[in-house]
């Protein structure tokens, strides 16, 4: 997987134990790298299993699960979308099936997918589609490092401390603003 994503700006890449977590790799990427990462996974014969968001202190963690028809395992790509203007680029142009998953994520968490060809409510009635039922209130949000498996770290970008338990507070703040900057660049 590190060979597959080689040369892409990554925040975090870790090998995970499939027996324990159900995935073999996870990568946290800046929003600007997502489309290129998806293109590489398409070229390597992966398919999108599902797309979902997770409401954490750091933002909405949008998770893309990929699997392969001939290789066991699962790859998770993650992009952190800030709470105030959650937006990530759409990969529906690469994996057409992503269109519905992205619309569902919009319904549940209000994450905007820039470039989705038909970005209208999917499961929730259009009259009440702005209620975003899976958003959590700020008090009950958990930190990413507390709930997500860190895995065996292969690469960790400079200043990215969201997954390491002993990171100093200022490192977290800077990587958060980096993620936000990446979003603005693509929007």
């Amino acid at each position: 997987m590190d060979a597959l994503l080689k040369g892409l700006p990554l925040d975090y890449l870790a090998a995970c134990d499939f027996q324990k977590t159900g995935k073999t790799w996870q990568a946290i990427l800046p929003a600007a790298s997502l489309v290129r990462a998806a293109e590489r996974l398409l070229a390597a014969d992966y398919f999108v299993e599902d797309i979902s968001a997770l409401d954490c202190v750091e933002g909405y963690v949008v998770t893309y699960h990929f699997a392969h028809f001939h290789k066991p395992g699962r790859v998770a790509l993650r992009v952190i979308a800030p709470h105030d203007a959650p937006s990530v680029p759409s990969i529906a142009g690469i994996f057409q099936g992503a269109e519905w998953h992205e619309r569902e994520t919009r319904d549940f968490h209000g994450v905007v997918f820039q470039g989705n060809p038909n970005f209208i409510p999917l499961l929730i009635d259009p009259d009440m589609a702005d209620c975003f039922p899976l958003r959590k209130d700020p008090k009950s949000r958990a930190r990413m490092r507390d709930i997500l498996e860190a895995g065996e770290v292969v690469h960790c970008g400079p200043g990215f401390g969201l997954m390491t338990p002993d990171a100093p507070a200022e490192a977290q703040a800077s990587s958060q603003s980096e993620a936000a900057a990446g979003d603005k660049a693509t929007a």
Binding site: K20, H65, F69, Q96, G97, W100, L134, I147, L148
Partner: protein, 388 residues
Amino acid sequence: MTHSALPDQVAGDFYTNNFAKNAQEGSLILNLGPQHPSTHGVLRVVVEMDGEYILRAEPVLGYLHRMHEKMAEVKTAAQFIPNMGRVDYGHALGWNWAFVGAVEKLAGIEVPERAEYVRVITCELNRLASHLLWWGAYLLDLGAFTPIMYAFDDREKILDILQAPTGSRLTYSYFRIGGVAKDLNEDCLSRIRAFIPWMRERLPMYKDLVSDNIILRKRIEGIGVIEPEVCRRFGATGPVIRGSGIAYDVRRSDPYSVYPKLDFEIPTSDLMDARGRYDVRIAEFEQSLRIIEQCLDMMPEGDVLVKGAPKPSWKAPKGEAYFAVEGARGKIGVYLVSDGGKNLYRTKLRAPGFCNLSLFAEVSRGTILADAVAILGSLDLIIPEIDR
């Protein structure tokens, strides 16, 4: 805009209007459903027609949306199991398994060996019932009334068998975190043993009566061709992708439970059309029977629920887990995140029918309306699962 089929004085709803924006001059916008016998539940498809041909189609979902993922946030893990039977009433035990499997993975709970066999037997029986339901209903869609009578006769036998250990006939809530609720007793096992030859005897009749029937062949052969590459881009799984020639089955690709010990094949078809998907499901009847037969012989004695199995108040440990099983319609996946609190932090359900239906717009383009019904049925849709 003005449109011949959508006059200004008739206001369509949000989805019709949104769809009609890109309509061609002189075409007809037609709503199939949400209440329509061929949609099995409340699926709606907006189609743009040129005469009898479909120019564009767009499924409209959400009529059966119950927000199971939100319900998971207000219940403990053990209390959420009954929801799983209601996600997909066709293959409820597949969903039972996906959820308890994810929790077991998260908490590192080992399941007793006998329970694994009980799970495989009941899950495969449920798969047979699901395929029988599809088979009968699909042929009904295509205008053949008799087969559903035979299919429901067989299916009734399975429901009778499963009702003893599970306590229900449709929306099963039988699996527990760490095993199953009740063992299969001698009476139940002997009924399963008697069912296998019964079902085997019926299959040749179904082939002669229905599968080789010229009217059916003309309705489904060459209809709804899906290339493997299209399947991959849309994330299709289950009989849909196996009908396009890819032998992808979670029971073999990411083996779980005792499936690696069992001898069975993954039927595929290179036809890629509705016929290919039909053939795959028909071939899976025999494979499920083989699996059940082997399990009955190999099943050890012992407990069916691990000692100290989680009670309703049990809290899942911190962490995340993804677990997938092969359901009757494809890959069922459950992704859990827990913060160690009373309820799960996030539960994401991956429904195979959701991805399989998403390619309908692509496949139906350029076909005639009657064939679109044949294509929809060949995808084997259970709407509650798609809408969740």
